[in-house]
């Protein structure tokens, strides 16, 4: 029986925990299997959950988020017969760990291009949740994409706050969106968990476009959400569960090539994305896959070449 450990945001964070849950649910629906799960409530529970599930014989144990790196490197060696899968971690060692990293900056690059192309004002916005490196990573890729289309584009980037409530404050998300709109933004990319709900809502109310994140959020406001930056955590989780205890270990990079990230195109936003836009983005995608185009990652030297945080 596999187990799934959600990060502190909780499994319904409208973001990557939820994506993981969706992946697991899909697996359960398809196979009729069951899985254990826990939503962490405190830092101390990270190690606890790993050990308890391992002791209870769960295999594989899938965990979410970079904060699991430390506890996992401490726990994994104690349970050599258990396979662990960790999302958003790529730098730890351990024979029984499958580490999955997503190239969020590449996905963000694509939606940044779409944003700049859809923008009439030449100003696009980015709303992040709490100011942490991961969110800067998203914003940085986005800005690069927008600038690739229109070197003069203005990218307005804001963070919601510095407390955990920054992930769950749609009201502030709304206000940030309004503030960005008044600065000219007519496409806004929200990478802010529950706060993003407010951003998307306000964008729809004010008649501008928004971009969702992690899972496909196009359906939230059909015709008003330009696209969503997909981070296929659901696929990663689904595949890990499907592989069961035979899951391959090692570092797995989920980039554009692996369809680990991408942009969402469906009925809800078909009218918003012209063939020309699509062609341009797909070309860029291919270039990135082919290595002809390199999107700078914020992590490389803790700064973004085109955006100041």
């Amino acid at each position: 029986e596999p187990a799934l450990i959600f990060d502190l945001g909780g499994k319904f964070d409208k973001s990557f925990n939820e994506a993981a849950f969706n992946g697991a649910s899909r697996w359960a629906d398809e196979t009729g299997g069951t899985f254990r799960e826990i939503e962490l409530q405190s830092e101390a529970q990270r190690e606890q959950a790993l050990r308890r599930f391992a002791e209870a014989g769960a295999n594989p144990i899938i965990t979410m988020g970079f904060a699991m790196a430390d506890p996992l490197s401490a726990v994994a060696p104690d349970y050599p017969n258990t396979k662990f899968v960790v999302v958003d971690v790529t730098w730890i060692s351990g024979d029984n760990i499958r580490q999955i990293g997503f190239a969020e900056h590449e996905g963000s690059y694509l939606v940044g291009m779409l944003a700049a192309m859809a923008s009439k004002s030449g100003t696009v916005g980015f709303v992040g949740g709490m100011d942490v490196p991961l969110i800067r990573h998203f914003g940085c890729g986005y800005a690069q994409g927008a600038m690739a289309v229109n070197p003069d584009v203005k990218v307005v980037a804001n963070m919601t706050g510095t407390t955990p409530s920054a992930w769950n404050d749609p009201v502030k998300g709304s206000e940030l969106a309004k503030a960005q709109i008044s600065q000219g933004a007519d496409v806004i990319y929200a990478a802010a968990g529950g706060t993003g709900v407010g951003v998307l809502q306000t964008a729809a109310d004010e008649g501008i476009l928004s971009i969702g994140v992690d899972s496909n959020q196009n359906h939230l406001h059909p015709g008003k959400v330009l696209t969503s930056m997909l981070k296929r955590v659901d696929v990663a989780v689904y595949e890990a569960m499907k592989a069961g205890d035979a899951v391959e270990t090692g570092v797995v990079n989920m980039g554009l090539a692996e369809d680990g990230v991408g942009y969402a195109l469906d009925d809800n936003n078909a009218a918003l994305i012209s063939d020309e836009m699509k062609a341009k983005v797909d070309a860029a995608r291919q270039d990135i896959i082919d290595g002809k185009l390199k999107v700078a990652s914020y992590y490389e030297n803790d700064s973004c070449p085109v955006l100041k945080f």
Binding site: G10, D131, K178, G194
Partner: protein, 321 residues
């Protein structure tokens, strides 16, 4: 900074201030009657959820508002039971209300809607829509005043106007009516009210109930006017800020308006101007984020001086030891 930007910041100020104002006035009634209430946060949260839930199910924002007020009233009644009838510790009771709301909203939301502690998205009549005041569009082109009217004064939801109307209404009720006289008296010296032949318990329950109603409106405003549905923990500490504003306002209605507008303004500015680039150094977003709080402390230390709470506040009225 041009005029439109100023107007937009003020507009944002209004939206951010309204939930604070409602909660602050709610606290004002309760605390003026001698019942301290740190459960404003919880009541708002419960109201936000139930208004969102009922609006989603019924499709009517007004029914949602009623449900929100009802939920908030239930928590008020609980607080009243603990702190008035059973003369318990008002702070503990308030803390319990906050925990209860934080937990219950998500548990119930998950049980009802299975959307991860959220309500379904509201649209149409399930949401309070902005009202365009008469002549707003026609007057928009009048210099200075036109945009002021059209942008800042017009175009809010009815709850905003209700909230602002509550300020003079509260002032009037407090200082011009029998009820207000008794309410203020019971917060200062309940024995005086008791020996004057008026029920202390009745007055305090009334005050706590009004507090519930106002928190209910505040919560409904968050979930059905500003937003289109409930998200867990969506009050995000506004109840505590409202409490601070109440002390800041020295428990007076007009000052409450000023205090909450000030908080709203500081937040609006902080949200708009993140990462101010001063050439040599960039002011980090964290500084701007903390700015409203830093300024509050500065203002408090520099100008406001001592705030004296209602004298009987926080103490249960005990006749017989």
């Amino acid at each position: 900074m041009d005029y439109m930007t100023i107007l937009q910041i003020l507009d944002s100020t209004v939206r951010l201030a309204v939930p604070l104002l409602l909660a602050c006035l709610a606290g004002l009634y309760s605390e003026r009657a001698g019942i301290f209430d740190i459960g404003l946060e919880g009541k708002m949260l419960a109201a936000a959820f139930f208004s969102g839930a009922v609006a989603a199910v019924s499709g009517s924002a007004w029914l949602g508002l009623l449900a929100g007020m009802g939920a908030s009233l239930v928590l008020s009644a609980l607080h009243g039971l603990a702190s008035i009838t059973f003369r318990g510790n008002q702070l503990i009771s308030g803390v319990a209300v906050n925990f209860l709301a934080a937990g219950m909203t998500v548990v119930v939301a998950q049980d009802w809607f299975k959307q991860g502690g959220r309500t379904p998205s509201l649209s149409g009549a399930a949401r309070f829509e902005p009202i365009t005041l008469p002549g707003a569009e026609a007057l928009r082109d009048v210099p200075i005043l036109g945009p002021l009217y059209a942008e800042l004064i017009s175009g809010h939801t009815s709850l905003v106007y209700i909230a602002f109307a509550c300020v003079p209404l509260t002032w009037w009720a407090l200082y011009r009516t029998r009820f207000g006289l008794r309410l203020r008296a019971v917060g200062e010296n309940p024995a005086a009210v008791d020996t004057a032949g008026v029920s202390v318990v009745g007055l305090r329950y009334a005050a706590v109930a009004i507090c519930g109603v106002l928190c209910g409106i505040a919560g409904a405003y968050l979930a059905t006017a500003l937003q289109a549905g409930f998200v867990k923990d969506m009050t995000a500490g506004r109840g505590y800020i409202a409490l601070a504003a109440l002390i800041f306002a020295k428990w007076r209605p007009w000052y409450a308006l000023l205090a909450t507008l000030l908080f709203g303004l500081l937040q609006a500015i902080a949200l708009r101007y993140q990462n101010i680039d001063l050439g040599a150094i960039t002011i980090p977003v964290q500084v701007m984020d903390a700015l409203p709080y830093i300024l509050t402390v500065v203002i408090l230390a520099g100008f406001v001086g001592k705030a004296i709470p209602p004298r009987a506040g926080g103490e249960p009225y005990v006749k017989e030891r």
